[in-house]
Symmetry: D2
């Protein structure tokens, strides 16, 4: 190939390219205009050419990591949602995207959040105006009401808050496809979803097969679920469902979803064998919220936790192990976000953070805990890496651009000091985070710490 001045070559590392191919020692990756221009043996690079060389000899190059389910605005306690509402949460989204990027997560899929802020920040990052993880977002989980509705804050703010203020907050999330859709016929659901997809600039569709208030209930009939998936597919978007019970999961699969969002969550009863087999057989991409052994043990011992939460986690843990054993196509995700120092005393969230080790909800750390948990459950190291890269790109229909280190794709790379296939902790030994071909100045991120500030 013809190298040019603007080219940068990462030279000398062992390349684990995310295709599942064995690692290639002493490789070179040339990037140009944000894309991967060439991949090959380092010795094939012509040292005379005026390519900018970055020496990574002895290091390891892998694709930039991805997270299949984050919430860039997840901390929805009043001191956050009220304080940052005038600025529409853009600052929080930026902060979170930068925290993720600093940790090597170059692409995140936000599956529930304040739509307008997410869209604005996504576009500013894509335009190079702001540095941060690449964002794809769903906006609302179709069929759920906002963060201060019964769906997410059961009873908590009724009576305490001005309903006019609560409504204003909720509208940032609901965007016309909230809980009212559950009252509708399948036809009416179809029309509402069609409008939503057409007008809001979302990247993929997520809907509630399971209810968020009353987890055990089903939100949409099979007809309505099919209508939603069809509307997404009609405009080339992938569709996914939030499912929490065996039957909600089954209905979603029958509706044709492209990705099972936390398919490992089946409530109080383990996933039926038949369902498990189907997931494996179809190699349906399946997010699993794997937790470390240490975390699971602590949950088990934690008496502060409501019993039904613990019951659900026991089942989820078992399902996760079964999915791995059976060879399901897993995706890394953890529902992670960013949180301030007061979260431990939050009435709603505190119990998830207090007195538990390896809390898997912190963006920037959650993916490492997931990878560790996967290895603990005997997922092969290469499969763990694929779950954090290629599998996610493919599941979201982004494999042409993302997920592997191959020519023509976005040049999102992670340069590690040590071999991540040997020890999963090595994913944290970051030498460089490269996004769109540029080395990120991680020391400056996040540029304006708000929640993650300790002040």
């Amino acid at each position: 190939m013809e190298f040019r001045m603007a080219d940068t070559a990462f030279v000398g590392a062992t390349l684990i390219d995310g295709t599942g191919a064995p690692p290639v020692p002493d490789a070179a990756v040339v990037v140009r205009d944000g894309l991967i221009a060439w991949v090959g043996p380092a010795r094939a690079l012509d040292p005379e050419r005026e390519v900018r060389r970055i020496d990574v000899a002895g290091k390891y190059v892998i694709p930039g990591l991805m997270d299949a389910n984050v919430h860039l605005v997840l901390h929805s306690d009043p001191e956050i949602l009220l304080r940052y509402e005038p600025g529409c949460y853009d600052d929080l989204v930026v902060e979170a995207a930068q925290v993720a990027l600093r940790a090597g997560v170059t692409t995140v899929f936000d599956t529930w959040g304040p739509l307008e802020a997410l869209r604005r920040v996504r576009d500013r990052i894509d335009a190079g105006e702001v540095v941060g993880s690449r964002i794809f977002f769903a906006g609302n989980i179709i069929g759920n009401d906002g963060p201060w509705s019964d769906d997410f804050s059961p009873g908590g703010y009724r009576g305490a808050f001005n309903p006019a203020v609560v409504d204003a907050i909720n509208r940032h999330w609901e965007q016309g496809v909230g809980g009212d859709l559950a009252w509708m016929s399948a036809d009416d659901v179809r029309h509402a979803v069609c409008d939503y997809i057409a007008s809001r600039g979302i990247d993929f569709v997520k809907y509630a097969s399971s209810a968020h208030s009353g987890f055990k209930f089903i939100v949409f009939s099979p007809d309505a679920q099919r209508a939603i998936v069809e509307e997404a597919h009609a405009v080339g978007l992938t569709a996914q469902a939030c499912t929490l019970t065996p039957e909600a999961l089954k209905i979603a699969m029958q509706a044709g979803v492209d990705l099972l969002q936390h398919g490992d969550s089946t409530g109080r009863h383990p996933m039926p064998k038949q369902t498990l087999e189907l997931i494996v057989e179809r190699q349906l991409p399946c997010v699993a919220f794997l937790k470390t052994e240490r975390h699971v043990a602590a949950l088990d011992a934690n008496t502060e936790m409501p019993e039904h939460w613990r019951a659900a986690w026991v089942v989820k843990d078992r399902n996760g192990r079964e999915l791995i054993k059976a060879g399901a196509r897993l995706l890394l995700a953890a529902d992670a976000g960013i949180f301030g120092p007061t979260v431990e005393t939050s009435p709603r969230l505190g119990a998830l953070f207090r007195d538990l080790p390896d809390v898997p909800l912190h963006l920037g750390a959650a993916h490492l805990l997931w990878l560790q948990a996967a290895i603990e459950r005997e997922l092969a190291p290469m499969d763990a890496l694929l779950a954090a890269t290629r599998n996610i790109a493919e599941a979201y229909g982004k494999a042409d651009d993302l997920g592997t280190v191959e020519p023509g794709k976005r040049a999102d790379l992670l340069v590690l000091n040590d071999d991540p296939l040997v020890d999963v902790q090595n994913y944290a030994h970051i030498v460089h985070v490269v996004k769109d071909g540029a080395v990120v100045d991680r020391s400056r991120l996040p540029e304006r710490p708000i929640l993650t500030s300790d002040r």
Copy 2:
């Protein structure tokens, strides 16, 4: 025919036999051993025979009335459920059955209540040990938790009550087929329902297609709903579903239910045209909770009522009118029960009773308001009578024994002073209530007034 000493003949009234046939003046109905032995012109009776004659010349004889949806124990406030729990509510059930009988409602279908009390009282009435309306009961609405769960008392008793006490109360209703079933796979639901039907002595099956907490949600998947209906049919029981949204209604119909329980309730949005047409075309028996014009107008003006309740009632009212206009096969029912004088100040129930005329929840009066509402909505007087008699018997599979005045059926009759087809108020002008061939001493009912006492 050969008349015998034990025979009793009701002689001289106009007979409206509940088959839909035109009224027959100067008729005679002979009863023997609790059954209708003979029906014909009064003149065909041989006056010499030693039959006991009851002269009802100038009166009107109709079948005993039926109510397709009552709750003999409906007032579930603590001062009732705690006080009467040691006696397991039997006394309340008896009182309610006697209040109904006194008003001419000779058969009631209890669609949700404390199973053991209902079974005991049903059996005692059937055995002639206690006088009261004939009871058929469903026990629990499969998939719902008990009266002090979130399903029926949202949040109300959490924190206030000893959970051990709350659980004990709820178990009277739940009977092993409560809300936990919503977490299960369709197969597991089938097994739980099979056990329930086999062991509890119920008369018919009712299940939750719609959730009771979070009305808009679906409790059981189509597969699970089919399993429930199949289990009922397998042992010869009818099955019905509680539905509150268009999609929950549709799924229940597809599952093969025999009767639509309050099919007129479709939440915030009117019943889709297609669904309405299907109900009419199949002549699927459909309970509608018709309210009088006066009641509807007052609801509309009542600002104390939560807005979403009112919205649902506006839709329900509209659906009811459309069902009548289209010729659906309606059944009389009103969710009626008995209540004490303090119900108006009940935090949970008060708003349903205060400041509203024609409250349709009082057993003994509710059916009269339903009939009036039906006439106001231009249901033909004869069709209104069928909705309160034959239609119900047929829908519940009891037409061999009940619902019309025909030989071979139970001799449940209502003798009215004035023609109910001319003025619907005449249903209240009772001369005799006859059950199983015997004239009821209405002046003694209820024998032990508890809730209906004014003391």
Copy 3:
């Protein structure tokens, strides 16, 4: 003296007569007509006389024990107050009085309860129609609302219960001298209290100097407190105040109360030195809720307990020690009552029972724990005995009849197997409980166990 046939003599025991005098070995106590007729050396009894002799050689005779602050109906959870309201709680009062008597507590002072039930049962016990501890009662704590008001169930039943039902329950306690008095001028308080004393048949007056909702507040001004005490004294009743803060205690003392009810409770801050000295100097009878070391240590370690409760208990414990050290005139009491097996799961009461050793709230056991705690805090054994007998009788103005084993007093005796001055556990080694001269058949008590049944 002249002995008679009806006389009974307890012969041969060591007598600890409750006057503070040293134990007298080989004594005899002769009772007649329910009174103590004669006390003297056993040898002085004429063995020829036809007195009925009960041989208690080697045993110990002490006065029947007293408790200065019990609540015969204390468990005010709905499953109790609603269930037993139709019977007005008489059965519960009887059960509690029998539980106390069985344990050797022959006299109890009920300082808050359902007045009419207490009066009826007191009178039936006094008339010999029912066996049980001798009851003296205050009825309401003047200035407090009933058990289901904010004063005793903060917020708990608001919204959950029918206000008409709540009011009916509360009236059993309030009796016209509830919280409304706090709104009144001192003159109006005086009139209300005067009416109450005159019409309800109470034995002594208790009023709220400290509020029960908002413990730190003062209910009655000094003028109003003086008025209440004066009204009590005017008809020969003693008066006591519920105090929980240093200032409320001081005002009550200035108002002239005869007895400090839990004078050891001063909230978050220890009792001021000056106040302590005054109590000692005046030898003002002072109830202290002493807890065992084991209980105090467990409280300290219990994280389930709200912090402010623990803070108050630490202070109370310190005050108790200081009062003992300084030589205050203590009275035994523990706020004891009876409770069913579900109390541990009670949302309101559970935390007081769960996971704590030596819970001092169970009538029949609480006084033993008090005595143990007193000894642990180095109260002299004889002073501990006086705190449970003579001191209480004197504080309540009953010393002419009760509190010591002296001729002319009621023959309330406790015959112990072992010396209670040597080991405080010996108070539990009961041989006989004698009340009004009769040996109680303890094996039959309580005659109708309700709460204390394990069924």
Copy 4:
């Protein structure tokens, strides 16, 4: 006198100087260096002198109005306290002070608010850096906890909010003299109050004689109240108490308070005759929250209002009339503040605003409603004016500087177009507001509308 260039003369108006003297037509008021330099007949001004003349012929000059009880930050709903907490509420205080000034209220006494913001804004206004009403403030009501404690938001935020956040908000108000003082001995209260007064820069002392949670209770014993008043007087500050019952009022008077804060509020029972007579006899300055007849009538008819609120208002209205009739020394005040448009839907505050005419809580309008109500209750027009000027200045010990138009005082004037003694509505016909000798540019106020913006 010697006039100087910098002097300004308001010439030609009728002067009602606030001393109670009859109006003087055609007067002149000369101001210099922010003070009133000279007052006399307009004709006595030498027209040759180079004084700046402002022609107010035909107008009416009165002292700048005062309000004896405002809360510059009163709207304490979360959308306000959380949003503006980062700026410590200074902007809200400024806005409120400007709203008041625009309406001619040149001095306000803030009796409860966020201390640091009040101090900063007071000082900036005094320094001429910001325009606004002259502020004197008390900071906390000693003995009360903050706005989100049970004292002001009963139960409302418990469970809903992060306690760390709630505590941070409350500390802005509590300042070390919150509810914990109620647990203390009088001596300890004295020390805490002494520290508070010495360190916070407050202008006067206000304490809770009545509790704010549980209005009927007394917070501080007479000894503690005396200690608080003595500490205030020791450093030359006035002291006032919040009282809501007859006895709390009496104790405060006995403690020597300088001013009765809403002395017309005595809860459910009218003020005892003796207390009323004492207030009049001593001419103790007494704030009364007078409401217009129209408002009182609407309150009476408002069924949304809790019954006990209405009861208290009926009593308050009666007390107000009695105080006027008896000749008490009244002060104008209304607990006024500023509120945004959503206040009507506030769960806590809405009922005070919705569906009621003449809501007396809006700063800038409340004083006009008070004056109208006073006239309706037959307070003499001149006495009404004194209640809004001189009486307040004297009660707060500011009579040397404020309250009348007399030489040597601050030149705070209100120039009205029409005679306020003829028609009370004329207080709203403002020509000029003069503060510290300068004519205020009212059209610019408030400079940065936040709550009072309609956006």
